[in-house]
C-alpha cells in the first residue's frame, strides 16, 4: 500500500482508513518517517520541521473519529503541550507549553493527531521563512528558492508530500502567499471563526489560523473541524451557517470582481498571464468577470505595517526573560533588571522582529499615536468599506495571490520593503477580516502561481465552493514537488 500512500490526499486517505484498506497507524508512521528523514537531512532537506513525533500519540488510533487519524503538521507557533513551541524564535528555544492551542486540540479530538511542528518566520514576521531562528525552509519546486512565509514550513511540507495537511496562520498573507509559492491550497478563514487561544500572537486583530492542503476538498474538511466559538477567545464567534465539503463544478451566474488596484501594476508578467488564463477558465465555467474598485487598497500595506507592528510590539513584551524562554544576564551589570531585559531581547530576537517592535513602539508613542496608529485604523475602516461596496456589485473578488513566483533564498533579505511587497494582494483582505483562499492556477518559469478568491465575512463556504469549481477546471498538477 505504502507506494501509493503518497498519492492520497488527506480526504482520500481518510476514505481508505474508513473503508478498512489502510490503518491510521500505517499512515501516521509513513508521514512521521518521511518528516523525520527531512528533518535529519541536515541542510540537504527542505527544513520544514522543527519537531517530529517519535510515535503516534496515545489514543489517536481509537474509534472512528471524523478525520480518521490522518496526521497533522502544525506551525511552530501553535502551543502544543510538552512539545517545543518556539514561534521560530531563539528567545523561545526549547519552550514546552503546559497547554495545547484550542484548534490543535479540536483537530486531535476530531482524529487528526499532531505528528510534526513546522518551521516559520520568527513570530510569523516574514514572507520567506528566512527569518526563522532555526534556519530557512526551502521550496520543493526549486530548493534554491524560498517557500514563502511565514507558514513556509507547513506549505513546503504539504507540497513535498511530507505531510498530508498542515495548519498555518495568516496575519497579512502568511498562509495564502506560501501556498501560492508552493503550488498548494491555503485558506485564511473569516477573522473570528477559528479560536486564537494558544496561537503565539503576532498581531491579535489580524492573526487567524487556517488550513494548508493539497486540494480544496481537504481544506474544507480541515476547516470544518476548526471553526466555532471558544470560551477562551473573546473574539471568536459561533460560525454562522454550515461548512460542508464543496462539490460545485460550475460557476454559473457567479459574479467575480477583479480589482484593478490589485491586478495590474506591481504584478510580475508571468503571474498576470497565469492569473488571466485562470479568469478565462472561470468564464468558461459560467462566471461573469467584471472590474471592481477598491480605492483604498493601495494604502493597505502602509496601514498594515503600522497596525501589525504596533500590536506585535505589545504582544512580544512578555518575552522578557523573567518567566520562560531565554534569559541572558548582562555580565557588566548582573544585578540590573533593565540590563537583563535588554540583553535577553537583544540576543533572543532576530533583526526583523526588532525592526517591527521598534516600528510599533514608535507608532504607539505619545504624540505619534494619532498620526500613525489612529490614521492606520481609519484606513482599515475605509478598506473594509471598499470591500462592502464591492460586494454589492460582485459575489467574490479574485486577484493574484502574490506579485511574484518564489524568489531565491537571500534575494530580498537585505531589502525589507521589497519583502513587504509580497503581501500587497493579501493584506487588504486581512485588514477587512474577510475569508480568502489561494489555489494554484498554473506555472510561470516552472514555478507555481496562485489565484486568490475572497468573499464577504462568513462566506467561507461560498469561497470554498468557487475554489473547488475552478480547481477542477484548472487541473493543476503539483506532483513535480513531491519528494
Amino acid at each position: 500500500m505504502s507506494a501509493g500512500l503518497l498519492e492520497l490526499g488527506a480526504a482520500a486517505a481518510r476514505a481508505e482508513i474508513d473503508a478498512g484498506r489502510l490503518s491510521a497507524a500505517e499512515l501516521f508512521d509513513f508521514y512521521r518517517d518521511r518528516a523525520a528523514a527531512d528533518r535529519d537531512a541536515d541542510g540537504s532537506g527542505l527544513g520544514c520541521f522543527t519537531w517530529v513525533a517519535a510515535e503516534a500519540p496515545a489514543g489517536a488510533r481509537d474509534g472512528s473519529p471524523p478525520l480518521a487519524g490522518v496526521p497533522l503538521a502544525v506551525k511552530d507557533l501553535f502551543c502544543t503541550r510538552g512539545v517545543p513551541s518556539q514561534s521560530g524564535s531563539r528567545i523561545l528555544e526549547g519552550y514546552l507549553p503546559p497547554y495545547t492551542a484550542t484548534v490543535v486540540s479540536r483537530l486531535a479530538e476530531a482524529g487528526a493527531p499532531l505528528f510534526a511542528k513546522t518551521n516559520q518566520d520568527e513570530f510569523a514576521m516574514g514572507s520567506s521563512t528566512e527569518n526563522s531562528g532555526f534556519g530557512p525552509s526551502r521550496n520543493p519546486w526549486d530548493r534554491d528558492r524560498v517557500p514563502g512565509g511565514s507558514s513556509g514550513g507547513s506549505a513546503a511540507a504539504v507540497a513535498a508530500g511530507l505531510a498530508p495537511w498542515a495548519l498555518g496562520t495568516d496575519t497579512g498573507g502568511s498562509i495564502r502567499q506560501p501556498a501560492a509559492l508552493c503550488g498548494i491550497v491555503g485558506m485564511k478563514p473569516t477573522y473570528g471563526s477559528v479560536s486564537r487561544y494558544g496561537m503565539i500572537a503576532f498581531a491579535s486583530s489580524l492573526d487567524q489560523a487556517g488550513p494548508l492542503t493539497r486540494d480544496v476538498g481537504d481544506a474544507a474538511l480541515l476547516l470544518l473541524h476548526m471553526v466555532g466559538r471558544d470560551p477562551c477567545d473573546a473574539t471568536s464567534l459561533e460560525f454562522p451557517g454550515s461548512l460542508a465539503t464543496p462539490t460545485a463544478e460550475r460557476l454559473d451566474g457567479v459574479r467575480l470582481g477583479v480589482p484593478g488596484e490589485l491586478s495590474g501594476e506591481g504584478i510580475e508578467a508571468g503571474v498576470l498571464d497565469a492569473f488571466n488564463a485562470a479568469l478565462e477558465q472561470a468564464r468558461g465555467l459560467g462566471a461573469e468577470i467584471t472590474g471592481v474598485t477598491l480605492p483604498h487598497a493601495p494604502h493597505a500595506l502602509a496601514a498594515y505595517y503600522v497596525i501589525a507592528p504596533a500590536e506585535a510590539s505589545s504582544n512580544l513584551a512578555r518575552f522578557d526573560g523573567v518567566r520562560y524562554g531565554m534569559r541572558h544576564i548582562d555580565d557588566a551589570r548582573p544585578e540590573d533588571l533593565v540590563a537583563m531585559y535588554t540583553r535577553t531581547r537583544h540576543d533572543g530576537f532576530g533583526p526583523e522582529v526588532k525592526r517591527r517592535v521598534m516600528l510599533g513602539t514608535y507608532a504607539l508613542s505619545s504624540g505619534y499615536y494619532d498620526a500613525y496608529y489612529g490614521r492606520a485604523q481609519q484606513v482599515r475602516t475605509k478598506i473594509a468599506e471598499d470591500f462592502r461596496a464591492a460586494f454589492e456589485e460582485v459575489d467574490l473578488i479574485v486577484t493574484p495571490t502574490a506579485p511574484t513566483v518564489a524568489f531565491e533564498l537571500g534575494e530580498k533579505t537585505g531589502d525589507p520593503l521589497a519583502m513587504y511587497l509580497n503581501d500587497y494582494c493579501t493584506v487588504p483582505m486581512s485588514l477587512a477580516g474577510i475569508p480568502a483562499i489561494s489555489i494554484p492556477c498554473g506555472l510561470s518559469e516552472g514555478l507555481p502561481v496562485g489565484i486568490q478568491i475572497a468573499g464577504p465575512a462568513f462566506s467561507d463556504a461560498r469561497v470554498l465552493d468557487a475554489a473547488h469549481a475552478l480547481e477542477g477546471a484548472l487541473g493543476f498538477d503539483g506532483s513535480a514537488a513531491l519528494v
Partner: protein, 489 residues
Amino acid sequence: MSEAAAGNGAAPGGLEAVIGLEIHVQLATATKMFCSCALSFGEPPNTHTCPVCLGLPGSLPVANARAVHFGLMIGLALGSELAPRSIFHRKNYFYPDLPKGYQISQYDEPLCLGGALGEVRIHRVHLEEDAAKLIHVGASGRIHGSDASLVDFNRGGTPLAEIVTEPDLRTPEQAGEWLRLLRTTLRALGVSDVNMEEGSLRCDANISLRPAGSGQLGVKTELKNMNSFRFIERGIKAEIARQAKVIETGGTVVQETLHFDPDSGAITSLRSKEEAHDYRYFPEPDLLPVTIEPAMLEQARAAMPELPAQRAQRLTAELGLSEDSARALAFRGELAPYFEAALAAGADPAPEPQALANWVTVELLPRLQDGEDPGGSRVAPAALAELVGLVGAKRVSVGAARQVLDRLVSDGGDAGAIVEQEGLGAIGGGEELEAVVAAAIAANADAAERVRQGNAKAIGPIVGQVMRETKGRADGTEVASLINAQLGV
C-alpha cells in the same frame, strides 16, 4: 522633611491644599479579571495561576462578567453615568510583576463617568487587573539592593475597580473621613473586602497647593500606595507641609511621584515627570468592547443595597436621630449595623434611640482600640441596649453606667448582672439616699451654711461626698435637689 515638623492638616501661610484621590478596590469576585483562576487569600505562592494570568505565550484574556456587574453597582452607588459601551486598553510597561508586559485597563472610554459621593465629585471609575506580588529577598526590601526578587502570581489578575475623584478635598482629615465613607459604601455594596491592611483597598493622593480662595490649580504631586487611613492622613499632611516649605522658601513644586514612609515619616521621590512612562495605550485587540445590555443594568439595580447616605436619612426619618448622629453611625464602618442590632435586641426597658446613638458614638467608641469594630468587641449589642435602657429609666445613674461599660469592654457579660453584682443600681427617692444626704450636710456644716445664705455654688463639696458614699449610683440632679430641700432653700 520630617513629619514632626508638619503640624496640623491645614496648609499654612494663606495657602490652600487641593487633594484628589485615586482608589484601587480589589473586587470580591470568585475568579480573576481575565481568567478562571480563583482569587487567592494567602495560599502558597503561585498556586492560583494559569496560562492567562502567567502571561504565557498564546494565552488570551476573557473579561469577568461578575467584575463588570460589580463595576456597574459601584457606578450606580456613586451616581455615575454608565457608559453603554466601554473599552479595555493595554497599558504597556516592563516590570517583573506584570507578566504580559502590559496591564489590561481602561483608558479614554471607562465603564463609569462622573458622579459624586457626599461632597466629593467622582471623575471616573474603571476596571483593570491587579499586578502580581514581588517579594524582595534581603535587607533592602526594595528591588534595588535586594539579593533576589521572587514573583508570586496569585494576586496577578485580581479584578480592580479604580475610582478617581475630582480634586474636591481640602484637608488630610477630610480625605480620611471621605475615604471611610467610600469604604462603608463599598462594603455595603458587597463588592470588596475593602481591607486596607490586606491591600484590597489602596489609595494614592494627588496634592497641590494654591493661595486660599484661588480658582487655579498648582503643580501636583502624586503620593503612592498608602495602606492605612492613618498613613493617608499623615502622608498628605507631610506632603502639604513639604510643598508649603518649598513655596515659602521661594522654590517651585515639581511634578513627581512620591513615596511616604510611615515609619520615618519621610517623603521620597519615585520618579519625576521627565522619567514618567509613556504607556503607549491602545485598544486591547484580544477583547471586545464592554456593552451594557439592559438586562445587566437591571441586574445591577436589583442588587443595590441600602447605601450609607440613604441609611443616615432613614435613621433620621424613622428614629428621629439628629443628622449628625445618623451620619456618624451610617458613614462609619459597622456602627450602624451595631446600633440597629442593639435597638432590635429587645432590651427591657427599651433604650431611647438617640440616647443609644450617643452611647455608641460618644461612650463606647472611645473605649475601643483605634479602628476597632464594636461588633468585634466584648460589648454585645444587647448588653449596651440594656444598659442605656436602665439609664433612661433612671435605674442606673450615668456615672454608674460608665463603670458598667468599662466592665463590659474589658470582660463582656450582661449589663443588668454587673449592676446587680457590683451594687451599682441607682439609689433615688428612698430613705437610704435621704440618710446619706443628711450625713453629708452634717459633715460639711460650713458649706451648708453658705448654701443657706444663698451661695448656690457652695453645694459642691456636699454633692461630692454623697457621690463618694454612693459610689456614683445616685443621680446628680436628684442629689442636689435633696440637699436643697433638707437645707430649706
